[in-house]
């Protein structure tokens, strides 16, 4: 009766819920660790507590949510089932001990075989996820703009995880001929710019179109952004790993700026064509995240190109990293979770009753007030942290971390409320 409709390709809800649950636990852990180690947000970025914090945020929070969302989105949008749910579960089984081990070794800066083994588990897990999703995408009849973004993002994730494994091994037994920090910058940009930014951009076109009820057929800015961010990531990776040629860095920063600008133009078109005029909390998070992306791009460019004193260079580098992972990525992920999770819960628990009795809309599974409260807390925390980092003001950073932590607890509470809703 529903042949050809997309939802029949969706994987089991348990698979997605397991990844989302892991991600929310990671957010809580990362937020608590941020309060515990707020002092890490000053000085040079290469310090154990900061490496631990960043990897907790990325591996504990952002990657599980991204992987869970990909396993839902790819089959639904491209109308192909996930190649193997078993492989996804196996990858998760490798991922959890790998991530926990790597994060723990980073915080303690223990560079023994435990670090290398954890990084190896992570590499195996991520490559399993990537292979499974790429094989799934290869079976799609048509690869759209979003599909091209997802493929590119997965390739960059494969590169970023390989670089990460090499860095872990190099900490244990140095073998790299170039500066470890250059590889670290390459690894961070392959993951942050290549994987996360491309993934968010590509998925945003699709999800915002759905959630704003917006139809835009002209996708040229989106295509420009895809090309520019890929060029930027490749250029910066080469520049960082193979010598730091200033001309290459300038070219990479310029390409990234073009990519971000083109993306924002495409989003503006979607926004202007929206049929749903009332902006909800999810959109406020998303809009704020794009603002953080713009500021982060400016800070990254300034950090790479402007002749700043050493102390300012450190602050700009920290602010840039925080705005990308704690500002842009965290905001956009929270915003989209407020859309995706209610829809999944609604689809699996409420949809069988449509037409038989009154069922709430997906957006009614959680009242607006706790979402708004969480939104205000989180963006106040992000603003205080960003200003505290830029101004090197300890108390402001502590206040920001406390607000951010409280907002994370509210995220968990809100998502748990949605998850437990029954008809």
């Amino acid at each position: 009766m529903n042949a050809g409709l997309a939802t029949r390709y969706a994987p089991s809800f348990r698979l997605i819920a397991a990844h989302f649950g892991l991600g929310v636990l990671g957010l809580l852990a990362a937020s608590a660790a941020l309060v515990w180690r707020t002092s890490a947000l000053e000085g040079h970025y290469f310090q154990p507590a900061l490496l631990g914090l960043v990897h907790l945020c990325v591996l504990g929070w952002l990657v599980p949510i991204a992987v869970g969302a990909l396993h839902q989105l790819v089959p639904v949008v491209f109308e192909v089932p996930v190649r193997s749910e078993r492989v996804a579960w196996a990858a998760l089984a490798l991922y959890v001990p790998g991530a926990v081990g790597l994060i723990g070794h980073m915080f303690m800066f223990a560079t023994g075989w435990g670090l290398v083994g954890s990084a190896g588990l992570l590499l195996a897990a991520l490559w399993l996820y990537i292979a499974n999703l790429l094989v799934t995408l290869a079976r799609a009849e048509r690869v759209t703009l979003t599909g091209a973004y997802v493929i590119a993002a997965l390739v960059w994730l494969a590169i970023a995880s390989a670089l990460g494994f090499a860095l872990a091994w190099n900490l244990h037994a140095p073998f790299l001929y170039v500066d470890h920090l250059r590889w670290l910058r390459g690894h961070a940009h392959a993951a942050g710019l290549g994987f996360f930014v491309l993934l968010v951009m590509g998925v945003a076109y699709r999800l915002l179109e759905m959630f704003l009820l917006s139809h835009v057929t002209a996708t040229r800015p989106g295509q420009v952004a895809l090309a520019a961010i890929n060029v930027a990531t490749a250029t910066l990776l080469v520049a960082f790993v193979f010598g730091g040629d200033p001309a290459l860095v300038i070219a990479g920063v310029a390409a990234a700026a073009v990519g971000v600008a083109a993306f924002l133009v495409q989003i503006r078109r979607l926004w202007r064509a929206r049929m749903r005029r009332r902006a909800d909390t999810a959109w406020h998070h998303t809009a704020a995240s794009f603002g953080y992306l713009g500021i982060a791009a400016a800070a990254g460019g300034a950090g790479a190109l402007a002749p700043l004193p050493a102390a300012w260079r450190e602050r700009v580098a920290l602010g840039y990293g925080f705005l990308v992972f704690g500002g842009f990525l965290t905001s956009v992920v929270v915003g989209q979770l407020y859309k995706i999770l209610p829809f999944l819960v609604w689809f699996h628990r409420f949809s069988p009753y449509v037409g038989l009795k009154q069922v709430p809309a997906a957006s009614e599974l959680l009242p607006a007030a706790p979402q708004r409260a969480q939104c205000w807390l989180m963006h106040a925390g992000i603003a205080a942290l960003a200003i505290g980092i830029a101004a090197a003001t300890g108390p402001l950073r502590v206040a920001g971390a406390a607000l951010f932590c409280a907002s994370s607890a509210l995220v968990a509470r809100n998502l748990w409320t949605i998850y437990r809703r029954q008809p």
Binding site: M1, M210, F343, W346, S351, Q358
Partner: protein, 99 residues
Amino acid sequence: MIEEDLRAALCEVMDPETGINLVDLGLIYDAHRTGEGAVSVTMTLTTPACPAGGTMIDGVERRLLRIDGVRTVDVELTFDPPWTPDAITQAGRAALGWA
């Protein structure tokens, strides 16, 4: 053409994302009786890849089967003509926040 009692029933089937019923969203093109106990519905979706499409079609069938005398419901999904915002009713526009 949508018969009045069928329209009233279909107004109880909501789009899960917007919370607006399918009639006010302009997704129902036609709903009428074709014989004794048989109803035919022609409807569309806002986009062919709408993730809630199957649910809405099932909801239409289930709701209409609850009407006294209706024994079979045939739902035809069409994208010709494609749905456009012009199909949204005044009530739907108000619910979407349009002036």
